[in-house]
Structure formats: structure tokens, C-alpha cells
């Protein structure tokens, strides 16, 4: 970040304040979204057990992605203290993912769920989830005039979605970063993918850009802050 940014206190970048359908929202530096007034936390594309998803075919990626992801989520939950958590789909990388989750990681997830409402929105990777997982299930979810669903729909208004793993490439003073990001505009908000092994799709890619009709504001999730980025600073891959 440049010197102007450095002059601001670090706390100024803890969250990015936006408003969608008249509802004030906080895009948090951890990559989750908070609806502060309602104490609702929204997290998208956890892709738990992505590492183990190809194990049956003999590809053994380090099986530590779920615990990395859950530990990061636990830190966000601890800090933001939501009453409700909405997992915005693709919470598990595949239908069998939940069963593969090891006891320890399962317990970590249980601790997160304890004492709060939990809604699993279905994603294309996890259309069904076992009942033992607890929480509520929904294809999509309406709340305070906002629609929460996994895959963004072209014509919907006031929609909060994930699925696309938006990612921003920024080049400044010759330094370059590629980070997950929030993409906001045209009556919608896209959440970054939260999982440890999730790659990203550049927001300049037509699949993302087409949803915004050129009207897009972006905030990149850094290591210790969420940073609004001007369109002109964005770069393609």
C-alpha cells in the first residue's frame, strides 16, 4: 500500500462499509461478510476437504486444508461474535466431503456452530449435506430484503452470492499482488472464496465482469486488512 494508505490507522482497513438494498454491510478483512445490525456472518466457498477429494484416485494433497480454513473462520467468529452464520454454498468440496472430515476438524466445526444459528446454503459442489452436520439447509435464503444464494443469477437484485471465487490483481509501483476480493455493484455483492486450497478467478474475466455491467467496486482481502481498489489499478492475469 502507498504512503497515503500507510498514513491511515491500520484499523481503518478492518472492514469495507457498503450498502446493498438499504442494508448496511461490512466486508471484513478476513474475507467474510457481516450484517452488523443483525449479527449475521456470511462466509462463502469454504471447500472443506478439497485436499482429500481426489484421494480415491490416488492424489494425496496435504490433508491440512480443512483445519487451516476452520482455524481462520474460528478467528473471524471469535472477533465478530455473530448470532447467525450463513455458509453460502460449496462449504464442502464434494458430497462425500463431510464424511471425510476427521474427528478433530469435525469437533472444531462443532465448536463454531455451538450456540448460534447456522444455515447451509446448497452449492453446486455440495447440493446435499448429511443431517448430522446440524444447522438449517436452504437452496437460497431471504433476509431483510436481501437474497443469499450460491450462484449469482444474471437478473437478480440485492443478491449476495459466491461461487465465482473473485480475485483481484493489483499492480502499483511495480509491485503486484493477486488476492481474493469482494466485488460489489449493479445491485449485487460477490464474496471471495474462503477455503485454503481455493484458487481465484480474476474479476476482469468476462464470467465475473459480465455480472456488473462495468459498474464494479472491488475490495481486496490482504493479510491484515481489506483494501478498496480503484478499477484502474486492476490488472488481468
Amino acid at each position: 500500500m502507498g504512503s497515503a494508505a500507510a498514513a491511515k490507522a491500520a484499523s481503518d482497513f478492518e472492514s469495507w462499509r457498503i450498502e446493498l438494498g438499504g442494508v448496511p454491510l461490512l466486508a471484513d478483512m478476513s474475507g467474510v461478510l457481516m450484517i452488523e445490525d443483525e449479527c449475521v456472518l456470511v462466509v462463502s466457498d469454504l471447500h472443506l476437504e478439497k485436499g482429500s477429494a481426489r484421494a480415491y484416485r490416488g492424489t494425496f494433497l496435504p490433508p491440512y486444508d480443512s483445519r487451516t480454513t476452520l482455524a481462520r473462520l474460528a478467528r473471524a467468529v471469535e472477533r465478530l461474535q455473530p448470532r447467525t452464520v450463513i455458509a453460502l454454498g460449496d462449504s464442502f468440496h464434494d458430497v462425500g466431503g463431510c464424511e471425510r472430515l476427521c474427528t478433530e476438524d469435525r469437533a472444531a466445526l462443532g465448536r463454531l456452530q455451538k450456540g448460534r444459528e447456522w444455515v447451509w446454503i446448497a452449492g453446486n459442489h455440495d447440493p446435499v449435506l448429511p443431517i448430522e452436520l446440524g444447522g438449517d439447509r436452504a437452496g437460497s435464503w431471504q433476509h431483510g430484503g436481501l437474497t443469499f444464494r450460491h450462484e449469482p443469477t444474471p437478473l437478480s437484485a440485492d443478491e449476495i452470492a459466491g461461487h465465482l471465487h473473485p480475485c483481484a490483481r493489483i499492480s502499483r509501483d511495480g509491485h503486484s499482488q493477486r488476492r481474493p476480493c469482494f466485488a460489489f455493484g449493479s445491485g449485487r455483492l460477490l464474496l471471495p472464496a474462503f477455503g485454503a486450497y481455493t484458487g481465484g478467478l480474476n474479476v476482469l474475466d468476462p464470467a465475473v465482469a459480465a455480472l456488473f455491467a462495468g459498474e464494479m467496486a472491488v475490495a481486496a482481502v490482504g493479510r491484515s486488512g481489506v483494501y478498496p481498489v480503484a478499477m484502474r489499478q486492476l490488472r488481468g492475469d
Binding site: K50, G51, S52, A55, Y56, R57, G58, T59, F60, L61, P62, P63, Y64, D65, R67, T68, R100, C102, H125, H165, R169, S171, D173, G174, H175, S176, R178, A193, A196, Y197, T198, G199, G200, L201, N202, L204, D205, P206, A207, A209, A210, G214, M231, L234, R235, G236, D237
Partner: protein, 851 residues
């Protein structure tokens, strides 16, 4: 164990070593079988594995095959069976050898079938070769790995009588050598009666190669060695050093001052080979020679970036004798015999005594006449290096690098390959693997961890036990869990993952919302702008995003690597922090480095150096100090508002570059505000905004602490965090070991869901399981390879307590070459040429003037 090759049998009339048909053939060509050729026939009759060390042109290949040709003629087989396996590092060499071998076979009318098998061999023929094998198969290490992964390997190789390993000195130095060592032990288990013949150029430690070709039993406590036949080069080579007069440059690698003399030498010889260290040097010299070429002598160019067809044309023209000179890089180093070279010119520093000897061996294939060679140093330090190499060549000293311990990633690949061929007992495989000399020191624990890795990924968290790729048999053996795994394995065989060159591309301006094919979700456009050229990947590896360097006449800022492209942006008005390197990728050998240090320390030795070099050193002695051979000289001085620290470790550019990265960090912490550094083969210069002489004088900076060995701890870790080098090294290991599938051109998987990038895997693994076997493998590679940490560590240990610091009023003569590198790299473009020259002259005058 060495046999006298000229040994005369006391009863030489009975029985003759050569059957009549062979003796007649030699006679009909007017040849005498050479003693080393007969020695190998004798060794084969005694069924003894043998290493033949001989210079180029000694009929090495024929010597290797002669026993097999005789055996096949005397004892023809009733049914098709593989008798002899020939393995070479190059596909082209296999083809070349087939051509050369067919001549005696045809002329003697021998009933022998010879075939090649490489990656280019059509699938149909490959299958047929497994069913109906030829008598002699010529192939590569990768094909061996493939063949032994089939369940019929025992049938195919069980009949083997002889295995010939050509250019062994070149095969053993990398991971292909590890793969071959393991494959060789497998072959010897399948065919216990086969003998191995290694063919090699002269090396520093022949015993390493003697050990490589026979099975080891490390528990016996001694190394088993094959027999050795050594054919010394006949007459000592005649070497001289060219162009070391007053025109000798202070720095640089072009040797432009000597082109006219080189051209004159070409005119005086039949065929001149001009070796250089890099492709770009080759291009420059080639073009410059043609500008001088008033007689339009046929001069050609040969290097690795050229199209294969073009290279084959040059090779054919050489063989046909229609060329007068060829400018070449190391692509011409290996064994193919290309005609009647009578002069070798080596431009630039030779880097190693053995390397030089092998290149000089290209000239004059008649052993009894001396080879003619000319060394052309391109700058003053190179004069000393050339002098050291010339002395070494006179003594016949060798300095080939020692064989490294075998890679664990390669072992993982081999274990999977073994399992694909059929069930195996770990206990037995462990002993077989330790039979391969690079793996002789492998511990059972390491082996078991590799087995565990192959089976379930080798993680402390036992997540994949139920998906294990290896399943236990009732007898304690292991077998693959599913035949699909064998298919998958064969797609990924081999150890060559390198993408040695990266395309350098500018980041495009205003590249956004670009549609390719108009398809949403299709391949996203690269952020690419103008293509600038290609650069060594190992160089880009050293950079962190934001580092600046010189390339194609611009100061560029490194941004990122995507696939095989390095993205850069242009920057203005700044010094390049890390200059592009114009030397070769081979570092100065430790042996030559020690000789150069000795030469520098001993004023008597300067008499053998050309006058400008001697004068330079004498003024250095007067103005600063000449370090003893065991001392590290560190000079600090100010110049034009910048403060410099220059040191002279003579440890090669790779180690210096690592040292530069680490020292810069330390100086930054100490408050010296370093701006950049430049590393050469001989020295390292760092510059910054604080007066380092003053800092040392008032105790803010302690020179001993600065060079403390512990920089290889946390500082190294912190740097590796931010550099791409470890990530990429890890990726190579992960591909070789089979954790990540190979990417084939045109088959790259796209889309965010399918692949997990090696970067993300590396990060998670480092966090949760830093002792994982693949991280261990990646670290071993980095330490011995691109970072040369091993050498840097030895240097820091040696320097401890032997640092000689000189605070100077102005630049010292010894510092001029490396400082000129900074100046040259920072002022791009032709327009700056005169400015450059003036500043260079200033610098030299400043360093050399009296008072």
C-alpha cells in the same frame, strides 16, 4: 583393480581375443584393434563390469560394443532376445550410435538386429519391441524407467548379457542419473548375469563412476568398484591465452577485443570450434565474426535455442567437412562425433578444469597429435582463471563435481514404478535401492517414509490410509491398489520438469475486460503486453516481486511468474538492483577458485600473467591490500554519494547471489540502508546510503557479525519466504514424486476448481508439516543447486576469524570490475555509450592513480 591396458598376454597366439571375422575386418580397414578395445573384450569374457575412461575420438563406442558384437556372432540366439542395452543421455546420440554401429555390422555381415527406442519411437514399434526385442537396443534413461514398470520386464530383460552406459560422466550429475542408478539396479536384479560397461570422459573421481555401475552393499562397510580401463590422451594439449594485452577489458563477457584475432585463427585452420558460455554470447560472437568475414568463410552457429532442424543441418555440414568454424554452447559438449576439428577456441572463463579438458578434447581426434586450444579471457579476473585452468590442464588435474546423494523425489517415482511392474517386498527393494551408489547412504527410516509417501502421501495425519495406492499382499509384499495407477504413473515418468527459459513479457497497459473467443469462463487473457525475449529461469527465481533488473536494454521491475512467463513492468530513473548475468550457468569450480586465490596471494605468480593484469594487482597491493589465500578481503569506500562494500569470496555467482540477498537484509537491519548489490563469479558489491566505513569504525556495524554463519538460519528462511525459488523447487519435486501431475502442453487444466496450485500446497505443508519428505527433498535441491547454500556455508565457516577489512578513501583496483558491472547494467541504450565510457574511464583512473 586397474588393469594395464597395454598388457600383452604371455601366450598371445592362443586363444586370440578377436575372432577371425573381426580381425579380418580391422585389417581390411587398415586398423589395429586398440588396446582398450581388446581390454573390454577380455573383461567381457571374464564377465567383469568395467569403466572405460578415454578422451574423445578413441573409438570408445566401438570398444563398448565390440564384446557384444563378438558374443552375438559366436553364439547366435535361436529366438529373439535382448542381448545388449545401450543407454545414452541424448536421443540424438542413440541415433548417431546406431548409424556408426551399422557400419561394422553390415561390412562384416553380422546377423545382428539393432534398434533405437526413444520418446519419438512410434507406439506400434515400441509394443513390438517388448514382444520381439532386437539383439541390441539403444535407448535413454526415461525409456528404461518406463520399461521396468511393465509386468513383462522380467521376460524382456532376463536375457540381458551387457548394459552399456555412454557419456556416464554427464549422466550421473543430475536427477536423471538418480533415476538411471535405480533403474540399473532393477535391471541387474532381473538379469544377474549381465555386466555393465561405463564409457566416460576423464573425471576427478573415477571411483564414483566405478561404484555407480556395480551393486553396492553398504553394510559391508566398503564401496564396491568396477574394474577400470584408462586411456590417457596422447600428447599434452597445446594451449595458449589470447588477447591479453592493453586492450584487455576490465569487466564484461563479450571478449570483443579479441574477435579479429579469433577470425585470423579460423583462417589458419581446417575446422575451428568456438565454445562460449551462453547463448547470447554465441549470438554476439557469431554476428561479429560475420562482420569481419571478408573471405566469407563458412562459419555456423549451434546452440540450444535454435530450431532442431537447423542444428542437425550444422552437424551434418561439420561432419561433411564443409564448415570452417562453428560457434557453440554446451549443446556440442556431448559425444557425437562431428568431423575433423583441429582448433578449439574457448571464449570466456572455462569455469572448471575438467570442463575445459572435455571441450579441448573436441579437437584433433588422432590421439598421438596434441590438441590445439586457445583461451580467450574476456576480462582481468578471467585472465587469472584462464591461467589457473591452463596450469590445471598441463597437470591433468580434474574437478568434476562430486555425485550428490540421490533425490528422495526420484526414489518415490522409482518405488511407484516398481510397484506397477508387480508386487514387491519392501525389505528386498530397500537392499536393491541401496545397491545404487547415490542411495548407498539411504537410511531405512528415509526409505520407509518414501514408501509411506507413495502409499498414502506420508502425512502425520493419517487421512488417506483407506485410499492407499499400495496394498499389502498376504506375504508382506506391496502391490498397487488399482491398474489405473500404473497408467497414470507412465504418463508422469521422468525427472525433466525444468522450464529453463522463461519468456519475459511486459504487463499490458489498460488490459481489462478483455474477451478471448468471446466466451465467458474461457481461458482468461494473460496480462501480457510486449514480448521482450527469454531469460534463464534460475535468474528470475532469485527475484522477489519489486526487484529491478536489466534486460533487453531496459531497467525492468519483476512482477510475477505465470506459467512459463515472467511479467515485468518498466521503471524509470532507478538503478537495477540485480543485474542480468551475462556469464554461464556453471559456477566457477571450487578447485579453480582455490587456484585463483593462491595466484592472487602470491606476487611471484603474477609474473606469469600479462602485464596489464600484473600492474593491476601491484596497484591493488599499494592502494588497498592483497589478501592471503585464506583471508576474505572486505573493502568499504564512498563514491559519488553512495557507499560501497565489496568482498572477494571467489565462490561463484550462485553462492555470491545468495550471499548478496542475505547481507542486504542484514545491512538493512543494521541501518546501512542498502540499495542494491551485484554479484560476479569472483566478488560481491553492495551499495547503500549510509557510510559503512564509519559504521564499522564506531561499532554500529561489526564485520565479523555481518558474515556470521547464522545468516543461513532465520535470514535465509525469511528470504526464502518471499522468493519464488523454494516454491518452484518444491513444484519440481512434487511433480517428480507424483504428488502433482505433469502439465503437458495443450493439456493444461484450467478453471479454478480442478487444480490446487503448488504454491497453496507448499504454504499449507510448510505450516502443518514442515518435516514432510517432499520439503526435505526440495530443500536438498535448493541447497546444492540454485542457492548453492552448501558452498556458501563452507565459505562462511572458512571466513570466520579471517576477515580482512579495509576502509578506503576511494575505489580499489580490485573492485573496479564488479563496479563496472553496476555502471554497465544501469545505463542502458546506445545513446548512453559515451557517457558510460567516460564514467568507466573515471572509475579506472580513480582506482589506478597514484597518491
Amino acid at each position: 583393480m586397474q588393469r594395464a591396458i597395454a598388457r600383452k598376454s604371455p601366450k598371445s597366439k592362443v586363444p586370440p581375443l578377436l575372432p577371425e571375422r573381426f580381425a579380418d575386418w580391422f585389417a581390411s580397414r587398415g586398423w589395429q584393434p586398440r588396446p582398450h578395445q581388446l581390454a573390454l573384450v577380455e573383461a567381457a569374457q571374464a564377465r567383469r563390469s568395467t569403466l572405460l575412461i578415454a578422451p574423445t575420438g578413441a573409438g570408445k563406442t566401438l570398444a563398448g560394443f565390440l564384446p557384444s558384437l563378438i558374443d552375438l556372432t559366436e553364439r547366435p540366439a535361436n529366438e529373439p532376445r535382448l542381448h545388449t542395452l545401450y543407454i545414452s543421455p541424448l536421443k540424438a546420440l542413440a541415433v548417431d550410435v546406431q548409424r556408426n554401429l551399422l557400419r561394422p555390422v553390415t561390412e562384416m555381415g553380422l546377423p545382428i538386429r539393432i534398434e533405437t527406442r526413444t520418446g519419438d519411437t512410434p507406439q506400434g514399434r515400441r509394443q513390438r519391441q517388448r514382444l520381439i526385442p532386437p539383439d541390441i537396443l539403444l535407448t535413454t534413461p526415461e525409456q528404461i524407467a518406463l520399461l521396468i514398470s511393465h509386468c513383462d520386464a522380467g521376460r524382456l530383460f532376463g536375457s540381458l548379457c551387457a548394459i552399456i552406459l555412454d557419456e556416464l560422466h554427464a549422466l550421473v550429475v543430475n536427477k536423471r542419473g538418480d533415476l538411471l542408478a535405480l533403474g540399473l539396479q532393477r535391471l541387474l536384479s532381473l538379469a544377474p548375469g549381465a555386466i555393465v560397461t561405463g564409457l566416460s570422459a576423464t573425471v576427478a573421481r573415477p571411483s564414483e563412476l566405478q561404484a555407480y555401475i556395480v551393486p553396492q552393499r553398504p553394510d559391508d562397510g566398503f564401496t564396491r568398484l568396477a574394474d577400470k580401463v584408462v586411456l590417457k590422451g596422447g600428447a599434452a594439449p597445446q594451449i595458449r591465452i589470447l588477447g591479453a594485452d592493453d586492450t584487455l577489458p576490465w569487466s564484461g563477457h563479450s571478449a570483443r577485443h579479441a574477435y579479429a584475432e579469433i577470425y585470423a585463427e579460423i583462417g589458419k585452420h581446417r575446422l575451428t570450434l568456438i565454445f562460449v558460455n551462453t547463448r547470447s554470447q554465441a549470438e554476439v560472437i557469431f554476428q561479429s565474426l560475420w562482420r569481419l568475414n571478408e573471405e566469407t568463410l563458412p562459419i555456423a552457429l549451434h546452440h540450444g535455442s535454435l530450431d532442431v532442424g537447423q542444428r542437425r543441418k550444422v552437424e551434418a555440414a561439420m561432419a561433411a567437412g564443409s564448415l570452417r568454424a562453428v560457434v557453440a554452447t554446451s549443446t556440442l559438449d556431448l559425444g557425437i562425433d562431428w568431423g575433423d576439428v583441429d582448433l578449439v577456441i574457448h571464449v570466456g572463463a572455462p569455469k572448471g578444469a575438467s570442463r575445459l579438458a572435455q571441450r579441448i578434447g573436441r579437437s584433433n581426434h588422432r590421439l598421438d597429435e596434441p590438441s590445439q586450444a586457445i583461451l580467450v579471457p574476456a576480462n582481468r579476473f578471467e585472465v587469472m582463471e584462464c591461467r589457473a585452468a591452463l596450469d590445471a590442464a598441463k597437470e591433468g588435474a580434474q574437478d568434476t563435481p562430486p555425485i550428490r546423494p540421490g533425490g528422495l523425489d526420484v526414489l518415490a517415482q522409482h518405488v511407484m514404478g516398481t510397484a506397477c511392474a508387480g508386487p514387491f517386498l519392501p525389505e528386498i527393494l530397500f537392499h536393491e535401492v541401496r545397491g545404487a551408489s547415490p542411495y548407498a547412504a539411504l537410511t531405512r527410516d528415509q526409505f520407509d517414509r518414501v514408501i509411506d509417501f507413495v502409499s498414502t502421501g506420508g502425512y502425520a495425519l493419517r487421512a488417506y490410509d483407506r485410499y492407499a495406492r499400495l496394498k499389502p499382499n498376504h506375504d508382506g509384499g506391496l502391490r498397487i491398489a488399482h491398474p489405473n495407477l500404473a497408467q497414470q504413473y507412465r504418463m508422469n515418468v521422468g525427472t525433466i520438469v525444468e522450464m529453463p527459459m522463461l519468456k519475459v513479457r511486459m504487463i499490458g497497459k489498460n488490459r481489462r475486460f478483455l474477451l478471448r473467443d468471446g466466451k465467458p469462463g474461457g481461458p482468461s487473457p494473460m496480462m501480457g503486453g510486449k514480448y521482450l525475449g527469454e531469460i534463464e529461469e534460475s535468474f528470475i527465481e532469485m527475484l522477489a516481486p519489486g526487484d529491478t533488473f536489466i534486460f533487453a536494454g531496459h531497467v525492468l521491475r519483476f512482477e510475477a511468474i505465470r506459467e512459463s512467463e515472467a511479467f515485468v513492468s518498466r521503471t524509470e530513473g532507478v538503478d537495477a538492483k540485480v543485474p542480468a548475468y551475462a556469464g554461464g550457468k556453471f559456477p566457477l569450480s571450487t578447485y579453480l577458485a582455490a587456484r585463483v586465490r593462491d595466484m592472487l596471494a602470491d606476487p611471484n605468480a603474477w609474473k606469469a600473467l600479462p602485464k596489464p593484469v600484473g600492474d593491476w594487482l601491484r596497484i591493488q597491493k599499494k592502494r588497498s591490500v592483497i589478501p592471503r589465500a585464506d583471508q576474505l578481503l572486505v573493502e568499504t569506500f564512498a563514491r559519488r554519494g553512495r557507499y560501497y562494500l565489496v568482498c572477494y569470496p571467489f565462490e561463484g555467482r550462485l553462492a555470491h547471489q545468495t550471499l548478496g540477498m542475505l547481507l542486504t537484509r542484514r545491512l538493512d537491519r543494521a541501518g546501512a540502508r542498502p540499495l542494491g548489490f551485484v554479484a560476479s563469479e569472483y566478488s560481491l558489491a553492495i551499495w547503500g546510503l549510509e557510510d559503512m566505513s564509519a559504521m564499522i569504525a564506531d561499532g554500529r556495524l561489526d564485520i565479523g557479525t555481518l558474515f556470521e554463519e547464522d545468516m543461513l538460519g532465520d535470514d535465509l528462511d525469511a528470504w526464502l519466504e518471499s522468493s519464488n525459488l523454494m516454491r518452484r523447487t518444491f513444484r519440481f519435486c512434487a511433480v517428480i514424486a507424483g504428488l502433482i501431475e505433469r502439465r503437458y502442453p495443450g493439456k493444461e487444466k484450467t478453471g479454478r476448481q480442478v487444480t490446487v496450485s503448488a504454491d497453496l500446497i507448499y504454504n499449507v505443508l510448510r505450516e502443518h508439516e514442515p518435516r514432510h519428505i517432499l520439503l526435505e527433498a526440495a530443500w536438498a535441491d535448493a541447497a546444492s543447486g540454485l542457492l548453492d547454500i552448501a558452498r556458501l556455508g563452507l565459505f562462511l565457516e572458512r571466513a570466520k576469524g579471517h576477515i580482512l577489512h579495509q576502509a578506503l578513501a576511494r575505489v580499489s583496483p580490485l573492485a573496479v570490475p564488479v563496479l563496472l558491472d553496476i555502471g554497465k547494467e544501469s545505463v542502458p541504450g546506445d545513446a548512453a555509450e559515451s557517457l558510460l565510457r567516460e564514467s568507466a574511464e573515471d572509475l579506472i583512473t580513480e582506482a589506478m592513480r597514484d597518491g
